[in-house]
Symmetry: C2
Subunit: 157 residues, 2 copies
C-alpha cells in the first residue's frame, strides 16, 4: 500500500497513535453517538480491536489526514471465497468523514483509494452495507458506481 | 469448532476433498448457474480460493452432510472492527442448500449453527447480504430474526 496525496489530504494506514482521533470521528455521527465512547481515556476494547486489525494481513484500517488532523477513516477487509470462481472480495466498513469536512470531496477520495486498493489486491468485487437511514450516503455510493443490489441483514447477538 | 449433528445432518468444516461437490452446489442455483463452473475438473481458482480460506484463521467454510453427501455449504468470516466499541462481527457468505433438500430444515440448522459459532467467537453481530431477487431467502432470514436494516452495495471491478 502506498500513501496517496489527494489535494491536501493524505491517505495512509492507521497507527496506534491515531486511535483517539479515530474513535472521536466514529462517535461524531448521528448513529455512532449512541454506540461509541470517545474521549482521551479509551475503552480498552478499542485498543484490543485495533491490535486485532493490525495483526490480520486481510484487514487494512486507513485514515485521511489533512495537515496533522485525522479527517476520515475507513476499514477494508479482503475476503477469499469460493463463489464466482474463487473470487476475492474487498469489503469496506466504518467509513466516516469529519462533520467539518463534509462536501469537500474527502469521502470520494477515500473511496476511490479504497477501490484501487481492492483492485491491487486482486479483488473482483467491492462491497459494503449502508444503514437505510443514511440517505446522503446512498447518493454518495450511487454516484461512485455502486449498485444496491442486495439487502443487508444484521442480527445482534 | 465442534461437529454438530442435527437430525441426520452433520455440520463440519469443509475439507479439500469436498471441493467438487461444494462447487456443484454453488453452480446448482438460479444465480450461480451463470457465475460458476462445476464438474470434476475444477478451475484452479477454486482450489486457490479454498487454500486461502483454509490458511486464514478468520475464515470458516462449513458443509452440511447427510450420509456421505454434501447437501449444504456456507462460509463464515470473523471481522475485527473499531465501530460499536471494538465489536467483532461474524459474516455469512455463500449459503447454499441442495435443491433436492430445500424445505427440509437444513438451511435453518446451518444458520443456527453459524450464529452459535459467531457467538462462541465473541461476535456482537452477525451480518450477511442477500440478492434482492432471492425472495425465498428473505423470508428465511426474517424468520431467523435477521433484520434488513441496511442496503447492500456491490461494485464489480
Amino acid at each position: 500500500m502506498h500513501d496517496v496525496e489527494t489535494g491536501s489530504v493524505r491517505l495512509r494506514p492507521a497507527a496506534a497513535g491515531d486511535l483517539v482521533p479515530i474513535v472521536a470521528l466514529l462517535a461524531d455521527d448521528p448513529l455512532g453517538r449512541e454506540r461509541e465512547e470517545g474521549g482521551p481515556e479509551l475503552d480498552t476494547r478499542y485498543r484490543e480491536a485495533f491490535a486485532a486489525i493490525e495483526r490480520d494481513p486481510h484487514q487494512l484500517l486507513a485514515v485521511a489526514e489533512r495537515g496533522n488532523r485525522i479527517v476520515g477513516v475507513l476499514q477494508l477487509t479482503f475476503i477469499p471465497g469460493l463463489t464466482r470462481r474463487g473470487m476475492w472480495r474487498g469489503q469496506i466498513e466504518g467509513v466516516r468523514v469529519a462533520t467539518t469536512e463534509r462536501g469537500s470531496g474527502i469521502g470520494r477520495s477515500m473511496l476511490e483509494w479504497a477501490i484501487e486498493e481492492c483492485r491491487n489486491r486482486g479483488c473482483g468485487l467491492v462491497q459494503l452495507t449502508s444503514d437505510e437511514r443514511r440517505a446522503d450516503a446512498h447518493r454518495f455510493y450511487d454516484a461512485l458506481g455502486f449498485r444496491a443490489t442486495h439487502r443487508g441483514y444484521k442480527l445482534p447477538l
